[in-house]
């Protein structure tokens, strides 16, 4: 009544354990007839490989590296916290998570880090950075050396990375646009704050947002966007100007990082509580802002999923195993005050 094992298959097929293993793992050197005998036994007995035994026997150990921008950004901090948190349980599953921080918005630093990676020491790497030609080439070289690479949060399609782990940022921008259009009452103008022109995620969000605003809310006028470089101080300064220059401002879409600048500016500026504010990532300060009614909605991606998915994809790449695309799809989460998960 128990689950059949390779031994049962071997007996049923009248072959040895080693042969069963060869067939099961598609290794060469087995006659077609033998393969068929084994497969028939597998079918008949309803054999399913045992995960524990398998991973015990292949005593593989995975070392995975996360390259993140060195910023005070709360979103990156959440990602780091996840690495910390999942580090233990990962070790339990024979994989070590390492992390290295590189200067943000600095392609060269990223390239150098990638180029020093030793395939003997690192099996896979997750890259969160800008998409420039230099980065693209460095990723290609890294893969050439036999290291698996996934793009994290911001895609690097031109680099032929193995996978991208993150949300569809165009769709995220559209979502923000739809919410903005439905939340704002009456006509007026809308400000979009982006991070960097080189950050693919920021660009894509902007694109989606603009498209929906044009389609669905022609009464709202989207101003030229300001580039905040995820810098709270900078954002604060620019924003103060914009607020003065545009008395008809009805909403702000903060599509990148640096929300603390936005928040401090908003709380100064005579509490413009009528402004509809939509931002990204459910960070501690975003929670507070949602709670206090300063932010109206947050578009987010679950950092836990991001890290878990990255690990699975990197391992699958290393082992040349297939993946389940559905499981790896990161959802675009919408949060309002009412559906905030307990912290």
């Amino acid at each position: 009544m128990l689950k059949p094992t390779t031994n049962d298959i071997a007996r049923a097929a009248g072959v040895s354990l080693a042969t069963v293993d060869r067939v099961l793992n598609g290794r060469p050197g087995v006659r077609t007839v033998t393969i068929e005998k084994v497969n028939r036994a597998v079918e008949e007995l309803g054999y399913v490989r045992d995960a524990a035994a398998t991973s015990l026997a292949r005593r593989r150990f995975y070392t995975l590296l996360f390259i993140l921008p060195k910023t005070t950004n709360e979103f990156v901090a959440a990602l780091e916290a996840q690495l910390e948190e999942q580090g233990d349980s990962s070790l339990y599953q024979r994989t070590a998570l390492k992390k290295v921080l590189v200067p943000p918005f600095d392609p060269q630093a990223l390239v150098e880090t990638l180029d020093t990676l030793d395939p003997e020491e690192v099996d896979g790497v997750a890259v969160f950075g800008l998409e420039t030609p230099a980065v693209r080439d460095a990723v290609k070289r890294t893969r050439m050396r036999g290291i698996a690479v996934v793009a994290l949060v911001a895609d690097l399609p031109s680099s032929e990375r193995d996978y991208f782990v993150g949300i569809d940022n165009v769709a995220a921008g559209r979502t923000a646009g739809q919410l903005m259009g439905r939340f704002v009452r009456g006509a007026g103008s809308i400000l979009v704050i982006t991070g960097s022109r080189l950050a693919r995620d920021h660009l894509e969000r902007r694109k989606g947002f603009d498209a929906v605003m044009a389609e669905a809310s022609p009464q709202l006028n989207v101003l030229a966007s300001v580039e905040g470089r995820d810098d709270p101080g900078l954002i604060r300064d620019v924003l103060t100007e914009v607020l003065e220059a545009n008395p008809d401002l009805r909403g702000i879409y903060s599509s990148a990082g640096g929300n603390s600048g936005l928040l401090s500016c908003l709380s100064d500026s005579g509490m413009r509580r009528d402004l509809v504010v939509i931002a990204h990532e459910l960070t501690p300060s975003a929670r507070t802002a949602l709670h206090g009614g300063v932010f109206d909605a947050i578009i987010s991606q679950d950092t836990g999923h991001l890290v878990r998915s990255t690990i699975r994809l990197l391992k699958a790449t290393v082992d040349h195993l297939p993946i389940d695309p559905k499981q790896e799809r990161i959802r675009i989460d919408i949060y309002m005050r009412e559906n905030l998960p307990a912290p």
Copy 2:
């Protein structure tokens, strides 16, 4: 440089493998000094138990049963599909998923099913059903017999079930209420469709919805709710009447199942596209309705998470292992047309 093993610990502590195992698993019959010696070695070597070896050695096999209402409800169908899908990978992890369907809204049938469960054959059970005194007692008896029990989707707090797997339904109702208030323009009345007065999830959603509407949208008049018993035909009939009797209807909150009745009625009734409609669960027909602009938002819970979380909790209960409450929290998802995940 590799991960230390129990053998390393044994050597370092100057004891045998068996003793290390006793200490690691808190088994009795070891002197305090010995325990301390082992623990010190564990600390020093940074020992982390190997998941694969552990589960291979304890050759435990888990049989988990899901008791679901036998309905044509798309949400339940999604749950069943998940069981099917996760069945294989579960078997791979030494756990078999079984399912049994009982008549919906029928506490007695549920009770009978629970009472026939044999602890020799079933290790844990997930119950999706109404909370009545009879059900409560049956759950208690089931646990007494040594079977782990979790309440699925609808909580059964009075039954002292081991865990509840599902969303905070009051918060889900509040979320729907907030969206309704922000999406509807102007004044008018709102209809709430519930399922059964006995279904705790439906009751809680209604409660949250009403509270937010009262707080935030006094200009909207929430009508007496209609009970649809998740029955498309019934819902359709009742709805037709309500639509005629309330020309000022501005929105509908469908807080339970039976959306197909709602949809067919809406498409008949002269396409009242101005109605704001919010429903629950991202099922195929809900996707279509969102896409076509018939539904404005969907409040949902991920059936994949529901099933995975149930499995983890049931196993943890059986093994008397601690859980990570954060990982088991099911989120309240909000979907609009823009953030629909690819099917």
